[in-house]
Amino acid sequence: MGSFAYTAPKKLEQALAVLNKHAAEGNRIQVLAGGTDLLVQLKSIDSEPRTILDIKKIAETSQLTFDGDHVFIGSTISCAVLYENAELKEMFPGLTESIDLIGSTQIQGKATLGGNLCNASPAGDTISALFVNGATCVIANESGLREMPVDEFVVGVGRNALQPGELLLGLKLPKPAANTSDAYLRFIPRTEMDIAVAGAAVSVSLDDNGVCVAARVAIGAVATTALNVPAAVEALVGSALDASALQKAAEASSAASSPISDKRGTEEFRRKIVGVLTKRAATTAYARAKGEG
């Protein structure tokens, strides 16, 4: 591990000033939230000099609010805190289960939703769950705040849409409509302490007859970023998620995926199971939306 500078400002404007100074001078700076990815990289990847900007002390990044139509989740709230929040779990059971899958219990005491998103791993568990809940990224820069849909935020393996001088303040999620719920499933060879070989998140909204009137489907770990699967949505909407609709959705997810073969699974295997996960996540989301989950 190389030496590094560390700063932990309490005010957002101070943090932005530090970011801008480094951007202007072309010096390397990395934002620290939970640190569960960053500290591992610090130890193992390179020892080039850098500044670590810890944003946990900035009040806005630790806010969790349920005002009006939206929920705001500050970017540095730990996964453990989020998972323990009953209101959040009630609204977004799928998102909270994705949060509960990150690392171990100990890791979840430090890891954050914002960090998982910014790290932009193709296998990041929360990312596809954020996709299907229509999350918006709230980004701070010197000119103020800007918002961006989460599916535009992740742009590549380990790459996000933040510009130099910007940081992720938090995520805004519309409160779910009536008869709406979500689910997230991933496949790992073990039961925990692992990285998704494939993942699928599904959100469905039902009418009073149990027919799906709106849906979102997103898949993870099967392409360079999480992907929306509109063809799977098409298969689900208008159905009561019968076997044939589920099968079509599964096939759509498999078709939309473009996985690689690596130590975690073969291309063929990932393509198959991302369909299975879509089907199963849809079934769970459907049951939850009907109040049976």
Partner: protein
């Protein structure tokens, strides 16, 4: 004898002597030791799986401020060829070349140089300054490639041993061996049913949680002291003496607490490097591997290929068994093929068999012993095919094994005649176990397998010191990897008739304990236990002498009962019994302190048989296997401390389940391991596992005073086939290659 013993302490479950320090974090492991002025040593490792080393220049690294030593292969003495023996096997010359490459790097991660500096960070920085010119060669990464005609050679001095006449050409096949008896062709001709199969197992690691670590210091007189995490400090001393050309009397080795070894800490890696750099720098040198180094450069166990054939009568009687088996040795000869061959057919009465084994070098780390080295792989093949035979005969798999199971008087396929063994008892216990008959769902399956390990004896020493108040100090020489201090204390307490709580056990270093072979071969409770018992009996005989002196009667008029000297029945003397405490309190007047001792080369290690029942649930859509039930049944001879015997059974089951389902080294096409960490090298985590039920069978081993037979290794042998057979039962297809990972199973099911 043993079964009629009325034990007072043996068979109880007291807290282990090392327990408090371990659970409170006070116990000191390999990396916990430091000395003033200490340097940190790190190793430069080959970035290529196979390369000639043309030049190494340490100059710039040595010039860096804070670097006090830098070494490469040229700095080490030439080592004469000579067998190492023991569990790991191999040759000292190869060991030396594995510790530090000479002119060839034989695997990715092979040590090519090392640096000692004032901090680990600085030492790592210095590694970047070492210049190495490599001539990159084609890596040979598996058995098929290594045994192919015109395969690139790892070592052109390897001519297959065991082939007569000596082959004309060198090859990657280091050795061939054969076991046979009877007439194999006649045996198959006599068979009414024949089954054949090919089975492959991957390269796997022992997975001990504590990485290799040591601290070395050498004084100006050339005497070295070494602290290291090891299963056998006397063998470390021998290996250091061979690789550094030092006298054993100039090397003191202190075994630290050990965080798992499973055979992988019977060999050395960094120890001679640390000593040499301490010699050069005049300062202590500490070396600690990180997890990636552990995976890239230590362990592993052999990948194998077995082609096996069984013939039987319709009633299940085996008529012929044959196996062709090849084991990867890694970069240097010396795989566990031979013990694998010894075990494969050991459970069965068999008149006609042929076993042909090959030891094959490949560009992977040199293999090390892994818990019953060689047996899990070969018995996975045999027990999988026995399962197929049971299907074909439409016979219960336990009945098929009972039909052929060895018992006292049968000659083992590997040579000796069995004494009392508990295979039949284990099979019957399995058949009667409720887990063998409980109902399964449609996606579930059940499998059974027999496991076997012959167990070792070897040399041990022990001393028993009686403190002035009659409490007891046992000094022995086996690093405690599985609760052996508890079992030593129990055996001493039982023998002497003192409470367990009054016995302390020290694992002495090479200068305080008598010579003792490695903690391996499941020998410690058996052999060192025997030494502790004999040393305790020595105390009893001395205590009787002291009592006789005190009472002024003849020594043969004194008996020993419940920890007291008493006059023999019929001896006309009115003496109060003398406790060990009373005798010790007056020992100054009766001849000085009581010190008992024993040293031995233990004979008659009782072989260990087991039967495992695995129950699995295979997800038909993802190929993921969940182990929903597991039952480990094993003959322990006599369980000195049943909780630790159960722990051995459960631990072996866990490692075997991991081997069966997920563990494997994944290499890229350049021979670089892709998963050198516990994230992607998937040993099971607790939530992956069901409660593992255990049944301890006790068929006493008559060669041990309390009936002990080794229990540490057998537990890992049966789980591979038990799980594979359960998967076969769940999905109706035999997949003959481990691990039975989800992609592999799903592909097989979709075919």
């Amino acid at each position: 004898m043993s079964d009629t013993h009325d034990y007072k302490q043996i068979g109880t479950r007291p807290i282990r002597p090392d327990g408090v320090d371990k659970i409170t974090g006070r116990a000191n492991y390999g990396a916990d030791y430091s000395l003033p002025g200490m340097l940190h040593g790190v190793v430069l490792r080959s970035p290529y799986a196979h390369a000639n080393i043309k030049r190494i220049d340490l100059g710039k690294a040595l010039a860096l401020e804070g670097v006090y030593a830098a070494v490469s292969g040229a700095d080490f003495p030439d080592v004469a060829a000579g067998g190492m023996g023991g569990e790991g096997g191999g040759d000292f010359k190869d060991l030396a070349s594995n510790i530090m490459a000479r002119d060839k790097a034989l695997y990715h991660g092979h040590a090519v140089a090392a640096v000692a500096a004032t901090s680990r960070e600085l030492a790592i920085e210095a590694l970047d300054l070492i210049e190495v010119d490599y001539e990159v060669l084609t890596p040979v990464m598996n058995l098929d490639a290594a045994m192919a005609e015109n395969a690139p050679l790892l070592n052109d001095k390897i001519y297959t041993m065991g082939v007569n006449p000596k082959p004309e050409q060198p090859s990657n096949v280091a050795a061939r061996m054969e076991f046979k008896r009877g007439d194999i062709d006649a045996g198959f001709a006599d068979a009414e049913v024949i089954v054949e199969g090919e089975f492959r197992t991957p390269t796997v690691h022992q997975g001990y949680i504590e990485p290799h670590a040591c601290l070395a210091t050498m004084n100006q007189g050339g005497q070295a002291t070494l602290w290291c995490s090891t299963q056998g400090h006397f063998e470390v001393r021998t290996a250091v003496s061979k690789t550094l050309d030092m006298d054993v009397c100039d090397i003191k080795v202190i075994a630290t607490e050990i965080g798992g070894g499973f055979g992988g800490k019977t060999v050395i890696y960094q120890e001679p490097v640390a000593i040499l750099m301490s010699k050069i720098s005049g300062r202590p040198v500490k070396m600690v591997m990180d997890r990636e180094e552990v995976f890239r450069a230590s362990g592993p166990a052999s990948a194998t290929l077995s082609k096996i054939k069984l013939g039987a009568k319709k009633d299940g009687t085996l008529t012929a068994m044959s196996c062709w088996m090849a084991y990867e040795a890694g970069a240097f000869p010396g795989s566990s093929m031979a013990p694998g061959a010894m075990c494969i057919f050991a459970p069965y009465k068999t008149d006609n068999f042929l076993i042909e084994g090959f030891d094959v070098v490949v560009n992977k780390p040199k293999v090390a012993a892994y818990r019953a080295p060689g047996a899990p792989q070969s018995m996975y093949a045999c027990e999988s095919l026995m399962d197929e035979l049971a299907y074909k005969l439409e016979m219960d798999p336990i009945d098929l094994r009972l039909k052929n199971a060895v018992e006292k008087g049968d000659q083992a396929a590997y040579g000796p005649k069995f004494n009392e063994v508990g295979l039949r008892e284990c099979l019957i216990a399995a058949k009667e176990h409720p887990n063998y008959s409980r109902e399964l769902t449609e996606t579930q399956g059940r499998g059974i397998s027999v496991g076997f390990w012959f167990n070792a004896g070897m040399q041990s020493s022990a001393e028993v010191h009686i403190n002035e108040n009659g409490t007891v100090m046992v000094i022995e020489g086996n690093p405690d990897i599985g609760g052996s201090r508890a079992s030593m204390a129990l055996m001493a307490a039982e023998t002497l008739g003192v409470p367990y709580e009054k016995v302390r056990v020290l694992v002495g270093d090479t200068e305080t304990a008598g010579f003792t072979n490695v903690t391996g071969g499941s020998r410690t409770t058996f052999a060192t236990g025997m030494a502790v018992i004999q040393a305790s009996q020595d105390i009893i005989s001395q205590a009787k002498q002291r009592a006789a002196k005190t009472w002024e009667i003849d020594e043969d008029q004194v008996d020993w009962q419940d920890g007291h000297a008493v006059p023999m029945p019929g001896v006309n003397a009115d003496w109060e019994p003398l406790s060990l405490a009373k005798i010790a309190a007056k020992s100054g007047r009766t001849g000085g302190p009581l010190l008992g001792r024993a040293s031995l080369n233990a004979r008659g290690a009782g072989p260990g048989f087991s039967v495992n029942i695995a129950e699995v649930d295979v997800d038909p859509e993802t190929g993921k296997t969940e182990v929903v039930g597991f039952t480990a049944i094993q003959d322990a001879g006599k369980a000195i401390h049943p909780a630790y015997v159960e722990g051995q059974l459960q631990g072996g089951a866990v490692q075997g389940i991991g081997w069966a389902l997920n563990e494997e080294y994944v290499y890229d096409d350049k021979g670089v391991m892709q998963n050198p960490g516990f994230l992607d090298y998937r040993i099971p985590v607790a939530s992956d596992l069901p409660k593992i039920d255990t049944v301890i069978i006790e068929v006493p081993n008559k060669a041990h005073p309390y009936g002990v037979r080794g229990v540490g290794e057998t537990p890992i042998v049966a789980p591979l086939a038990a799980v594979a057979n359960a998967v076969r039962s769940a999905i109706g297809i035999r997949v003959g290659e481990l691990p039975l990972s989800p992609p592999r199973l799903l592909a097989a099911m979709d075919e």
